[in-house]
Amino acid sequence: MLAYTLKRLLAGMITVWFIATATFMAMHMVPGDPLMNDKAVSAEIRKNLEVKYGLDKPVVEQYFIFMGNMLQGDFGISFTQQNRRVNDIIRDHFPVSATLGLLAIFFAATGGVIWGALTAIYRNRLPDIIIMFLVILGISVPSFVFAALGQLMLVNINSLLGFSLIPVAGWGTFSHMLMPSMVLGLGTMALLTRLMRSSMLEIVNEDYIKTAKAKGLSPMRIFFKHQLRNAILPVITILGPSIAAITTGGFVVELVFAIPGLGRYFVQAVQQLDYTVIMGTTVFFGAFLVLMVILVDIIYGFVDPRVRLQ
């Protein structure tokens, strides 16, 4: 188990190194550089800035300097935000994105399991048909539409009540987090519901369910002790990549709900070719996701005894 975890962590580190290298190369292949902007700078100032940021050196050397700093946990200083260290940007804004993302995953996973199980119980009957219709909606409608609709709903509720029950936008308290995390988790919830449904229906026909019936167990017990746990396995498998999709895809939702998450900096940096912020946020997100996938795999080992030994 320990050897397995260490092996996965080592492989994860190599993955992060690949992410860093590929991002670095892609970034430098994009025409232009962070010093090019609307305000024309004189050649002299430009030269000074290049020296200050180390852009005068060959790309290969820049790469090694960057990697060296990264290994020491230093992503450098932002090009566009005066004297702001990338580490500080991540420290200030990542917890917000992570809270939002994990809450969204929580909604998606619990919702997916519950709805999926319900559709399987009511297979081809009205509840199943209604939920599956909503699932298709959840998969095909983009999150900014749901975000806007969610805000509209909150506005209506609040104006009906005459006071602000749940804030429409912003960040700070738990009630701020509710709507954006639900909106963010909706697409994944829909996917997980479908997965859970098919996996439940598969398991109903398994021999061991027949055995459980022949043992004289109550339908409730069969459902919870024999069906659910086995049906959840594929859902857990897909949870790792889902965390990836949600934490990086949170940008739009963060924007609509005016949430000071990392997503905004992530996108802005690419638009402005802010080299250090691009590298910092990408590598950090990458490492976070790799870690989440490993974590999910380890959790999987606890739920399914068959994978424990490998």
Binding site: E206, K210, G216, S218, K225
Partner: protein
């Protein structure tokens, strides 16, 4: 008169499918005597498994539907009970084991927990007591290092071991009947022999009845007291194991015997398969189901359902559903036709 523990009367089961209604079991009746083994023999798809699963109430409904009949366990009808009432006898009075032990146990629960679950549900035992009893049961089914094995998961067991664990599980509440649905089909031959040996031994020590479903006549000869031969959803011949093997009275039973390999080395015996295939149970024939394949078929067989003929060749009840047992039928040399000598 033997003590009857289970009496099945005129059981019929249908399945509604997209292609129409399959009449899988068509009026099956049989009795199981206390402490004896009834073997139900027949080829794939003849309704053997459906019969016992219908009695247990574990066929999926829908599409399945029990359209008639009764099954009396100790005189009380248990057929078609709702789950809550059925659970008073399922796992308690009747234990069941299945064909494929590899898939018949929950992969994410330890063997011990799966056995103790039955005890906790039916006997109200505490987890500790039930776990201890589970180890004893595993020990009884001759699983070495039972205490350690009880903590393992099904994937850590071999097929034969899993079937032993299944047997241990089904015996948890000391049932009076064990239903074994092709318990050795998925196992290799040496393991088969061990499992059958174990079942026979437990039958003696626990004084339980066994309903053994199989398509292997060798298994029948070894295990059975009574035999019911099923074909196309009906029992075509039933009687004691000697009646079936030495006084076969239905052409289908003869056909099965012809198709059975032996280990005699004289080379005289050639295997004769039964030609053709069983009738379409979407539209069961009006006459005898075996008509199209029967070497002795007569004109009457095509459209007239043969009645059950009680044969008087032995003390035990021996019945055959065949027109050749009718007093007007011609004499067939290979077939046991008590009273036919007088007819000629």
């Amino acid at each position: 008169m033997a003590d009857k523990i289970l009496e099945v009367e005129d059981l019929s089961v249908e399945f509604a499918t997209y292609g129409g209604t399959v009449k899988a079991v068509r009026g099956v009746s049989f009795d199981v005597n206390r402490g004896e083994t009834l073997a139900i023999v027949g080829e794939s798809g003849c309704g053997k498994s459906v019969t016992v699963q219908a009695i247990m109430g574990i066929i999926p409904m829908p599409p399945g539907k029990i359209t008639g009949g009764t099954a009396k366990l100790n005189g009380e009808n248990i057929l078609g009970l709702p789950p809550k009432e059925a659970n008073r006898f399922r796992g308690v009075e009747i234990g069941m084991i299945f064909q494929d032990p590899m898939t018949s146990l929950n992969p994410t629960m330890t063997i011990g927990d799966q056995i103790s679950e039955t005890l906790m549900v039916h006997r109200g035992m505490s987890y500790t007591d039930a776990s201890r009893r589970a180890v004893e049961l595993l020990d009884k089914t001759k699983i070495a290092e039972a205490a350690k094995r009880a903590k393992q998961y099904p994937f850590e067991f071999s097929g034969g071991m899993l079937q032993r664990a299944m047997i241990a599980q089904s015996l948890a509440c000391n049932p009076s009947v064990l239903m074994a649905d092709e318990p050795t089909t998925a196992l290799d031959v040496t393991i088969q022999a061990q499992i059958l040996e174990l079942m026979a031994e437990l039958q003696r020590t626990e004084n339980m009845s066994i309903i053994l479903i199989t398509h292997d006549l060798a298994v029948v000869a070894r295990m059975a007291d009574q035999v019911a031969v099923m074909y196309a959803g009906q029992i075509v011949e039933s009687g004691s194991v000697d009646d079936i093997f030495y006084r076969s009275s239905h052409p289908y039973t003869l056909g099965l015997k012809e198709a059975m390999p032996t280990n005699k080395r004289d080379g005289k015996k050639t295997l004769t398969p039964i030609l053709g295939s069983p009738p379409d149970l979407f539209h069961p024939p009006t006459g005898c189901g075996y008509f199209a394949r029967c070497p002795y078929a007569m004109a009457v067989c095509e459209h007239h359902q043969p009645e059950e003929h009680h044969l008087t060749d032995s003390d035990a009840e021996h019945q055959a559903r065949c027109w050749l047992q009718h007093e007007g039928a011609p004499h067939i040399k290979a077939l046991n036709q008590p009273g036919a000598d007088q007819r000629d």
